[in-house]
Amino acid sequence: MRMEADVTVIGSGPAGLVAALHAYESGAKHVLLLEREEELGGILKQCIHNGFGLEQFKIDYTGPEYAERLIEEMERTDVRYLLNTMVIALSPDRIITAVNPDSGVFKVKSRSVVLAMGCRERPRGGINIPGTRPAGVYTAGVAQRFVNIDGYLPGKEVVVLGSGDIGLIMARRLTLEGAQVKGVYEIMNYPGGLKRNIVQCLNDFSIPLYLSHTVTEIRGNERVEGVVVSRVDEKMQPIAGSEQFIACDTLLLSVGLIPENELSKGAGIKLSPTTNGPITTETMETAVPGIFSCGNVSTVFDLVDYVAETGMTAGRNAARFAKASKKEGKSIEVIAGENVRMLFPQRYSFEDDLILFIRCAKPIERPLRIDISPLDMHFKRLYARPNEMIRVKVLKDRLKDITEPIEVNITER
């Protein structure tokens, strides 16, 4: 089987749904959305807590409600979607190979492609916790799926390692389901998740958060019987003598998300070592013409609203590319300067406004300035924390005459 499409979107999480919708609304006729799961919505389906779409729709939705709203909007269009469909290869000339139980293996030739595969959770191996290998060690997302979709409690006495948002949300969820969450341990000296989640998920339930702590050993032969936690020094090395054994039957890991870019790599798309996602311009176009990327496959965002925003941009530009393959335009680099750990996008191509997503390198608890050079442009903030992404917008007009790279620096005032 062989299909053709103007725009093909891979992945139907919020980024993919929004991208497909906006590609269609921007005039692409044949928009195809491919999803490997049996339902649309991606990870939203299992995020039954609220806090979605506040900025985009000004309504506080739960994950499934938010997905439902997008899906409804999409259903009113002619966007086609295929479920249970796994894309197994993508070529630089935008030929997609996919497989599903109904059609077997098939190819799609698409004028433009939007990558929206999202991210996956870092597993235990990724952080090398020594000890035994019993049952009871799960990523927070797996636990979330067990509880919210399958209706099972993965354990009764839980330690959470890492204070990423999913970990925080699961600490609350498991408590509500009757499990005892003994604490959340975070290796950094600041929390990984959003402030509102610390308050609503931990503080409100009296779940202790231990900063500068990590799990240094897992014990138990068949099922987890406990973990050893240790304090860490400034270099994040465990401090000898600070070990403490905590009895538990479950260890949840919320230790980071990794953009899922195996397909992108296969297509020869260059990735950024800091975001682990494709290097893109403000139009969300990757280094391979006609292939766009958006959402958490590009960089791990804090908020679904940001994800949706990049989806909109990607969808609109993918439609534009599908109509008239754009000539090679010029583009310049966007560089992360002082105190900037992560910066997205990494290039500017003079097509759109430049919306920058920035993470600072360390917590700055006093007024600061974000400078955009060579423009004489500054944004002021009262504080900045690595766990809270900063979004700033630079209008196209301001940028049209510059020739040298754009650099973003954060300085304390």
Binding site: N100, S103, V105, E121, N128, F146
Partner: protein
């Protein structure tokens, strides 16, 4: 004679005291040395055992010295009688690679054979934790039984792999010379290889090196390729042997521990298991880390197993800096007296591994990994790899996807024991099978066959079928084959494990190949779901669902690896 014995025990006692500063009680009977006493540490106890074993006239060492932290051996409790009344000609204790290879070998005869394995799946002890290498014999000490089995077993793998439809790659061990002086050492390795009956290694110039192991450091001009080094999947091999044995009539009992052996007038009569007593007249002791316990049950103790732990780290597939088992002279001499010192080894699935370490431990069940182990492996191999392959990304810890450990079943003689018992008729020991036990497995099975044939003259099984076919794998098929397969069975079009592209069809197939399985790890070993970079993070709930359906058990009862390793605790309210 009795004076001799006295002299020997005296000498052993003195030597032990000289080396460890501790006094052991030494007694000798039938050339078996027995050590008793109270020592301060496990290591000193192990040293004592090794010292006693050094003497040539010592056949085995029973080391009963106590030390703080020593684990008492408590055999598991009987749980049922469901196997009571069963009777076999041969019972093999242990479903590791050795037990299953023997089972398949014996299935060529008209013998009723059973394999008893305490875990919920086969090959879960030493076999699962090995480095999956088919070693060249040159790594062993010539003249030992280990050496003989290794040099015989290694070439047998070509036929074994093809009959059992298991992937085998003869990647070779490549020893590179980092300077002209080291080039002179090649002739020594060549001489040693020939002495060990390996095929002659091949000297390679730079051009040939570039073909075999691309982009080595510019200062490397020559290398020596030891061609018979192979890599294989020990899980796949174990399961393939077992499936083939099963097809030829062998029965497998998992979740069953042997907890006693009954003899009558010096002959094997029955084995007591946690699920009832099984009658048999031939008992093959292939119990790995517990082979000394089985010997003890049968009243024929003459060796003690001391577990030596090895840790290994595995890197993500996206990082593939080597094609061969890569070695430099700087790594030589890094090993201890009793282990080879580990290496930089590719796996058959295309992951790089560093390992193993070697550490004497108190507990045979100690499969825990340590910070120290990781550091040792990293410090030892990362700089060598960086130096030999400077054009590749550096091996950094963030690329590690998993870290595991396993214990080697070492005796103090540090050699294999493959022999009929000289005390109990019908008992055959296959013990002390530490590394290179995997490389030796086909030869060990053959040796056991010879023992059985010589003693019992069984008739041949006219229906023996040496070939086994493995299940289809989505990743290995071309587009046409995939389409065909999915048309017949749409489950092959449903990808469950996205890291390894494993389809639901492959997972379901694992349930229909004879050996009953119920755990997540059993699926991982067979279908590779969960073996990839996310280590089951994504597919585990799906695999659990499939197990629950196929094995027809409640989700709460699905385990990670048998026993009480339940994945879920209860339904939510």
């Amino acid at each position: 004679m009795s004076l001799n014995k006295k002299e020997l025990s005296r000498t052993i006692q003195d030597e032990i005291e000289k080396e460890t500063g501790e006094k052991a009680t030494v007694s000798i009977e039938d050339s078996v040395v027995r050590l008793n006493g109270q020592f301060p540490s496990n290591q000193s106890v192990v040293d004592a055992g090794h010292i006693a074993a050094e003497f040539e006239q010592v056949r085995g060492v029973l080391n009963e010295i106590d030390y703080p932290g020593k684990k008492p051996f408590v055999p598991p409790q009987k749980v049922s009688d469901e196997l009571a009344g069963k009777e076999f000609d041969v019972v093999i204790v242990g479903g590791g690679i050795i037990g299953v290879a023997i089972a398949r070998e014996l299935s060529q005869f008209n013998l009723s054979t059973a394999v008893i394995e305490r875990h919920d799946d086969l090959g879960t002890d030493q076999t699962a934790h090995s480095n999956a290498m088919i070693h060249p014999a040159v790594v062993t000490k010539s003249g030992t039984l280990k050496w003989e089995m290794n040099y015989r077993g290694n070439p047998m793998y070509d036929e074994v792999a093809s009959q059992l439809d298991v992937d085998l790659k003869r990647v070779g061990t490549l020893v590179v010379a980092e300077n002209p002086d080291e080039e002179l050492l090649f002739s020594y390795i060549e001489k040693m290889s020939i002495k060990h009956k390996d095929p002659a290694p091949k000297e390679l110039d730079r051009e040939e090196l570039d073909r075999i192991e691309p982009r080595l450091a510019p200062n490397i001009r020559k290398g020596l390729l030891i061609r018979n080094t192979g890599i294989i999947s020990p899980f796949e091999l174990t399961i393939a042997y077992a499936e083939n044995a099963m097809a030829n009539g062998v029965q497998f009992f998992v979740n069953t521990s042997v907890i006693g052996v009954q003899t009558e007038e010096g002959s094997i009569k029955a084995v007591d298991t946690t699920r009832g007593t099984i009658r048999t007249h031939i008992l093959i002791n292939a119990a790995g880390l517990y082979a000394d316990r089985i010997a003890e049950f049968a009243g024929d103790r003459f060796f003690t197993i001391h577990p030596r732990k090895g840790e290994t780290i595995i890197f993500d597939k996206s990082y593939q800096p080597v094609r061969t088992v890569l070695a430099s002279f700087s790594m030589a001499g890094e090993g201890s007296k009793y282990s080879k010192g580990g290496g930089i080894i590719p796996t058959i699935d295309g992951n790089l591994q560093f390992g193993p370490t070697a550490e004497e431990v108190c507990d045979r069940e100690d499969v825990s990994t340590t910070f120290a182990g990781l550091e040792v492996l990293f410090d030892k191999f990362a700089p060598v790899l960086e130096r030999l392959k400077p054009h590749y990304e550096k091996p950094d810890k963030s690329k590690i996807i998993t870290h595991f450990a396993g214990c080697r079943a070492a005796t103090y003689k540090e050699d294999f024991i493959i022999e009929p018992s000289n005390k109990v008729k019908g008992l055959v020991h296959v013990a002390g099978i530490q590394s290179p036990g995997l490389a030796s497995a086909p030869a060990i099975a053959e040796r056991v066959r010879e023992i059985i044939v010589q003693e019992w003259h069984p008739a041949e099984n006219a229906h023996f079928e040496p070939r086994r076919k493995r299940g289809k794998r989505f990743t290995e098929l071309d587009q046409k084959e995939r389409e065909e397969l999915i048309r017949i069975n749409p489950l092959y079009g449903h990808i469950v494990c996205r890291c390894e592209n494993v389809s639901e069809g492959e997972i379901v197939d694992a349930f229909h190949r004879g050996i009953p399985i119920k755990s997540i790890d059993a699926i991982k070993r067979r279908a590779r779901a969960g073996m990839g970079r996310c280590q089951g993070g994504f597919c585990m709930p799906r695999v659990l669902e499939i197990i629950s359906g196929e094995a027809n058990i409640e989700k709460e009862l699905v385990t990670k690896s048998g026993g009480k390793s339940f994945i879920l605790s209860e339904r939510t309210k």
